[in-house]
Symmetry: C2
Subunit: 132 residues, 2 copies
């Protein structure tokens, strides 16, 4: 199962790159940002949300910033910290990517499972992270 999901993730990544020039690591980083009303998160908090080391997030945000999808902003309260802020371009690019990404997930994954199997999966995984 780990093998299959890895394979699906690889294919999703490839398509996202081909269709939107965006890696899945970048996509994953944008998700928590677009969910925020102010579209910003501190670097460390964002890194934790997407389960990535801080150094990896630095590279990811650097790439996104260069393409104008995210910008860094210093904090007033703490001169050490920095926000990653989603730009208007970034929000638009993300939504476009999200549409085809969801389509791809349906095609490669969800459509291959009937209702009973989907329910079984939902049951098996619910609260996995929270359980011991």
């Amino acid at each position: 199962m780990l093998r299959v999901t890895t394979r699906i993730r690889r294919e999703l990544d490839k398509r996202l790159q081909a269709e939107h020039g965006m890696t899945m690591a970048e996509y994953d980083a944008l998700v928590p940002l677009i969910d925020r009303p102010d579209r910003r998160l501190r670097m460390a908090d964002l890194a934790d949300e997407i389960l990535q080391p801080r150094s990896s997030l630095t590279r990811i945000v650097a790439g996104l910033e260069q393409r104008g999808l995210v910008r860094r902003e210093p904090l007033a309260e703490d001169a050490r910290g920095a926000y990653a802020v989603l730009t208007a371009d970034g929000a638009e690019a993300f939504r476009a990517a999200q549409r085809s990404h969801h389509d791809n997930i349906r095609e490669l994954f969800l459509s291959r499972l009937d209702d009973a199997r989907l329910r079984a999966l939902a049951f098996a995984w619910e609260d996995f992270g929270e359980r011991a």
Copy 2:
């Protein structure tokens, strides 16, 4: 779910490296070899089994060969081809790695699911590869 499984795989990989100096890609490549009675497979066939591009397999086998776990062997029938052959050292190293890898899978994954959830997972994933 894809996120969680990716995270588990990352942790499994890290532990395999720390405990046995072996990546999961290497581990995955050894599995089909140890299953064969003659402990050998053609490079292209092995690449297909583990769902990796041929070029990736070449690197993986190169690393394993350097450590004496695998050796390359030319084919009598076709001078283009090459076998990857598991050595005695390789078989021993693999079995040791396999023990702790299975322990790690139990700890990070299986132990967090009760029987009902394990059955649900098995049901959801059975024959996934074979279905449309």
